[in-house]
Point group: C2
Chain length 180, copies 2
């Protein structure tokens, strides 16, 4: 048994959704007390750092219902069942931006909200970026607008809070570290 492990006493499923599953577990704490954990299961996702030959970072602006606002983010998307993260990264880059690449290089992986969710994001860097002759189709419920910005412009978008999510900040810091 792992240090501080919380043994599950009972599980109450509350949502079996298209994207997430939500449940409430009753757990036995290390001190013998009983508590509840509200947990979100997520299939995992990928995000892609894609920089053009001209040194521009490719971003997508989309409406995010959870915040009821537009956010500018690096291209990203959920894993489909059985899909390897690298294949998801290639697919999402093609669908959202119309760019392909020679190679997807894994930069990092990270849990986004370990306090309540198991979502794991694989962050890739697209190597050998090239424009596709034909743009792949977006999912039918996705609407995004493409932006190509310098690193300086990306930092201005952070200041303006139009870029305001963890994976895109990680991507920008990665490029800052790489460029030094």
């Amino acid at each position: 048994m792992s240090k501080f492990e919380e043994k599950t006493l009972s599980t109450q499923p509350v949502l079996n959704g298209r994207v997430i599953q939500v449940r409430v577990d009753e757990v036995l704490l290390p001190n013998g007390a009983v508590s509840k954990r509200e947990l979100v299961k997520h299939p995992g996702a990928v995000a892609v750092i894609a920089v053009t030959e001209e040194g521009k970072l490719i971003l997508v602006e989309q409406y995010r219902k959870a915040m009821e606002k537009l956010l500018v983010e690096i291209p990203a998307g959920k894993l489909e069942p059985g899909e390897a993260p690298e294949a998801t990264a290639v697919r999402e880059l093609e669908e959202e931006t119309g760019y392909g690449c020679d190679e997807m290089k894994l930069i990092a992986s990270f849990y986004t909200s370990p306090g309540f969710a198991d979502e794991l994001v694989y962050l890739y860097e697209a190597v050998g970026l090239r424009k596709l002759e034909q743009k792949a189709d977006l999912d039918e419920d996705e609407f995004v607008e493409l932006l190509e910005v310098t690193l300086e412009e990306a930092q201005e978008l952070v200041q303006a809070q139009r870029i305001h999510d963890a994976k895109t900040l990680l991507a920008i810091q990665h490029l800052q570290l790489k460029n030094r």
Copy 2:
């Protein structure tokens, strides 16, 4: 109306939890189609970059039920109702680490999982860190172990995937950029 806005047609609440609220919204998409969005509302959180006089980064190891494993993270915690993020940062640092500070400097804020959750994390850097004479009490359902590591050791923890969450990677990148 904002570009790409998704108008809510109906809302189905599925969980009114202690930490999160979950609901499923039926939305009208920009193309006139109808879709569903599974949404998690979260009170928001803070995370604290705390470096000792000896240049060691303060980390906490804790069991994370969503992943069923131990993770090493920077000190963090949820906002209490009506609590200013800066006060939460001071409180969480004291409770989890036994350190106080002269000033909490806001480094960044970010949504952790904009695809399904509205959790916003405020990332602070503790300035003028000092050990408290008496350690504040942890929440009754919190069990953490303190680590103090060099930046190099932190990067080894990333390689070993014992550090494996977005906010802690952002903190490490921030320190790498600052130290150059």
